[in-house]
């Protein structure tokens, strides 16, 4: 089966198990918990695919497996046609350049001792990016792309706000020249007005440099602002997947509907139906 040429990333039957302990298993031998259950998905070039689900849905584990921060147990990950699942050592490091990750916590995802310029030039050097020899221009260019003032280059993370740090994290990812970006709850820790700015930045990156983005979040409403297509994950499986408009106008799966119904509307006349009783599954969350 040939891959369509415009697929940036494809995941095929990926599975990941973890050992668990907890009040349920106290006194009993630890059981295996299937965090990701044979998940397949496709990220088309130049699109933003949203991956939504509550905590425990497996979406973060899936994201980490794709980037090989965790090793999947079975399944394949293909980056634009190249199977990267088995890559190791140097080959893996070279492949990492093509798929970058933005983490949730803007306060811990940057090395506190490096200035912005150092962090960015290091990436350029390690991956021998074109233009990285002229580090000043390289850095200036990257900062421009993420809408940061050029003066930011000499600052250290602790002098920057959360939104600025996230932009630096994005610039650092871009410095590697990736084809795919995975944003793991990348805006969840930010103020709402800053969130809106960052979401627009992701849209700009998609439009201006054709970046393909997998956007992982538990807030469906965030995806409304940024995703072209959306996949919904529950208990390690994808339960629904469609373009953004269909998901919101015509949700098929009960879990999708539950996520949509759980969105707190800013309109005070659209309040949660107080008569709804939670199911025990939801209460155990």
């Amino acid at each position: 089966m040939t891959e369509a040429p415009d697929v940036a990333l494809s995941v095929d039957s990926l599975t990941k198990d973890f050992k668990t302990r907890g009040p349920a298993t106290r006194g009993v031998a630890p059981t295996m918990h299937r965090a990701v259950d044979s998940v397949s998905l496709t990220l088309v070039k130049g699109e933003i695919l949203g991956l939504a689900g509550a905590s425990g849905s497996g979406k973060t584990t899936l994201a980490r497996c794709i980037v090989r921060l965790i090793e999947p147990d079975t399944g394949h990950v293909k980056l634009g046609g190249t199977d990267v699942t088995q890559a190791r050592g140097k080959q893996l490091r070279m492949l990492r350049r093509r798929i970058q990750m933005i983490f949730q916590d803007p306060y811990a995802s940057l090395n506190p001792r490096l200035t912005v310029a150092s962090a960015l030039t290091e990436v350029g050097r390690v991956h021998r990016r074109p233009g990285s020899e002229d580090s000043e221009a390289f850095v200036r260019n990257l900062l421009q792309q993420v809408h940061l003032a050029s003066g930011t280059a000499s600052r250290r993370p602790n002098e920057l706000s959360g939104g600025q740090r996230q932009r630096v994290a994005i610039a650092r990812a871009l410095a590697a020249g990736p084809e795919v970006l995975i944003a793991d709850e990348a805006v969840s820790a930010l103020d709402v007005s800053i969130q809106a700015q960052l979401l627009n930045l992701f849209l700009d990156l998609r439009d201006e440099i054709g970046l393909s983005i997998l956007f992982v979040t538990h807030q469906l409403a965030v995806l409304a602002a940024v995703a072209d297509r959306i996949a919904i994950m529950q208990d390690g499986r994808i339960v629904e997947s469609a373009d953004s408009t269909s998901i919101f106008r015509n949700p098929q799966h009960a879990y999708t509907r539950a996520l949509i119904d759980a969105h707190p509307h800013a309109n005070p006349r659209l309040r949660f139906d107080a008569r709804e009783l939670p199911t025990s599954a939801e209460v155990n969350a």
Partner: protein
């Protein structure tokens, strides 16, 4: 500042010492402090002030050497143990645990016993043992740091493990090790003085603060200045170093939280 002044003195010792520290003068034994001999003379007629100056110089160099040789060794080994875990960690940690379970001085004396008394013995003996303190510290910090997103980001960015550990983790680990090192400097100072005191360290007639103090002990009652004045200098040195440590700790102790 205190340490700075002392450092200055010790560097300039050969220039400012009014007398040759080793010049014997049996005509001038045990003279009390005077204008000629600022701290008096010892039982061999040697000027104590000059001896203190030279002794300070020796102490400075040796103690700094001891501490700042142990630090990098321990830091690197601890970082490796913390990062890799598994066998690497087991080996390094067990070794460190063994070393740390003995009283420090006993081990150093044992090494000196093997190598022979004298400064050489101390210079080998101390680092062989004291790297373990730094290793433990670095390992603990590394185990916490390794989980932080910026470390994961290094992997995600395709950095080699070597680069991740040495260019990214270690500079962040150094901070806490430096703070500890000031305590260590004080400890090593006392250690050197103690070991010299019992005759295993610096050999006479070389001037060393601890040796001077011990040499002055028998004369404590009638010629108090022989032991006490150098002793005070020792104390001052220790305080100065301690203050540096506090300053470092306050200013830079935020870590990566």
């Amino acid at each position: 500042m205190i340490v700075g002044a002392m450092a200055l003195c010790s560097i300039l010792a050969p220039l400012i010492a009014p007398h040759d520290p080793n010049q014997l003068d049996f005509g001038a034994q045990l003279r009390p402090p005077s204008l000629r001999n600022l701290m008096g003379t010892d039982e061999n007629g040697r000027d104590i002030f000059s001896r203190v100056l030279f002794g300070l110089r020796l102490d400075f160099v040796v103690v700094l050497a001891l501490t700042y040789v142990s630090l990098p060794i321990g830091l690197v080994l601890g970082a490796l143990a913390g990062y890799f875990g598994g066998i690497v960690d087991s080996l390094i940690s067990r070794l460190a645990d063994i070393l740390l379970s003995f009283p420090f001085i006993v081990l150093v004396v044992a090494v000196i016993g093997l190598v022979g008394p004298g400064l050489g013995g101390v210079l080998i003996g101390v680092p062989v043992v004291s790297w373990a303190f730094y290793a433990r510290l670095a390992r603990a910090d590394m185990m916490v740091m390794k989980e932080l997103p910026f470390m994961e980001a290094c992997t995600a960015l395709g950095y080699s493990k070597t680069r991740t550990i040495f260019r990214h983790a270690v500079p962040n680990l150094v901070r806490n090790c430096l703070v500890f090192s000031t305590l260590d400097v004080m400890g090593n100072l006392l250690l050197l003085a103690s070991v010299s005191y019992i005759g295993l360290g610096v050999q006479p007639p070389t001037a060393e603060l601890g040796a001077i103090v011990s040499g002055g002990q028998p004369y404590l009652l009638n010629a108090w200045w022989v032991a006490t004045l150098p002793g005070l200098v020792l104390v001052l040195f220790g305080i100065g170093v301690g203050l540096i440590g506090e300053g470092l700790s306050d200013g830079r102790h935020q870590g990566t939280s």
